[in-house]
Amino acid sequence: MRPGVLAVYRWELQKLRFQKRTYLGLGAAALVPIIFAVAVATQNGQPNDVAFGRYIHQTGLAIPLVLLLFGSIWMFPLITALVAGDIVAAEDHNGTLKTILTRSVERGQVFVGKALATATYAIAAIALTGAVAIVAGSLASGLHPLPTLSGTTISTGRALVLIGASLLVYLIPILAIATIGLLFSTIFRNSAAAVVGTLMASLLLQLIGILPGLEALQPYLLSTQFNAWQGLLRQPVDWAPIVRAGWVCSLYAVPAFVAAMLVFLRRDVAGG
């Protein structure tokens, strides 16, 4: 039987397992919440200007949420870009693309397998941050009920469920950034350029969001969608920003994915 996407996906995960950059990204995803929790435990100050910032000493469950806000600026885009920008470009640069493209899997299957591995890594990074932040936050400030953005307070159990759901919603723009990274990785054929390019694209969108006179663009910027999860922490739940995050991110992700795949399918593999 001819192997398919699943075989490629499994081996992409194997390759990620043996690469340093994987652990660099996942290490950062685990370390940042710990550092943040230690800072919370040892200092009295709090970031009052961000959502849930004022509650970080009141309940450890506020800590993962504050991290989601801070992490959207560069940490999560960078962690995502580390693998998304590298996954095609590194193979191109090292000449291993020709090794796998002369086996029995179609190019399209190779590309989809790589895209799935990229997404898996991004999901793992977000899940790791969330899990470590909950544990570290609980140790620093305790597991207590969480005040919502509507001023009500929800139980610890419900807060944990909503934090999990928030991480899922947060993944929507993260996966859009991953597809942009995949596109750059395919086009640039250079790992560093693709990683930096992905991060720059993310930062550029954030910059556009704060430029005066461009407020009308804000709902359609990828950076704005990083706040969509906050709709879950209102009572009643505000689905509008989550729905918008879905289609706005698709506007970025789908063209990037299709373009990357077309380039990958049609490219001459002449390097290495």
Binding site: A7, T96, T99, V105, A270
Partner: protein
Amino acid sequence: MSVSQAQGPPVEVRGLVKRYGELVAVAGVDLTVLPGDVFGYLGPNGAGKTTSLRMMLGLIRPSEGSVRLFGRDPQAGVAALDGVAGFVEAPRFYPYLTGRRNLELCAALDGDGAATRVGEVLDIVELSDRAKDRVGAYSHGMRQRLGIAAALLRRPKLMLLDEPATGLDPAGMRDMRLLVRRLADGGMTVVLSSHLLAEVEELCNRVAIVRQGRMAYEGTLAELRLAAGTVYHLRTTDDDRALAVCSAQAGIDDAAPGQHGGIAFRAPSEQAVGELSLALAEAGALVLELAPNRATLEDLFFALTEGDGDAAPSPAPAVVERAA
């Protein structure tokens, strides 16, 4: 369609052209590799050999022309590569994985029970004892052998090898030569691009010589030598008179002063040489030395690939004599 069902020779290339903007890397290559051939694909650096092999393996798209492997178009999908394996330039692997893991990866992407053959191919290329080492620590020769092992996983009927012995030490080159010979003896068709002309001469029954992206010759080595004719070296008691006799003698071609004295000429048969020796005696130029210089592949290669570009399958005697 499996190899057994395939229609057509292992490799059939027609009018193959590859352009990169203004640069024409391959300018109209035609070649046919027959079942059981050990086919030498020769040419100087930049002649278009590797680009041709990349097109054969479906890694790059031809600008014009066609490639068929057992009658199938490699651009139509990987099914065309069933029964085909090989590598272009150096085989490349993941340096952070062991040799065995690299092969397991290749096998996973091959399917068809290839995973069960990993140990077997490691034995064939004599890498079993280093299979647990990371490829990053492998020597160039070990990577080349691992490349062969990765190709063998596919149980190929056709193997495309791009300069497999380049960069190897003499022992590595010998081992690679023996390995290719063993594969060929097992009935595999092998296409071998190489700069190592002695190796091609020893291994290959048919050759193609490409120059500046164009075919200069395709056929058997015997036919190439025949087309070139045998070059003879002659020394007499009076070389000036002998040269005049040679030039006038029917059946004697391209007579010219030899580079190291004497005269070089080409003759299609020993009969013509015998008649020349009689004519020389009658003219008073007594023969002191008359010996054939059978052209080596290297002689023929240089004759076909150097010069003004209008290559002909008939190298000049002086060129042959220089190499001899």
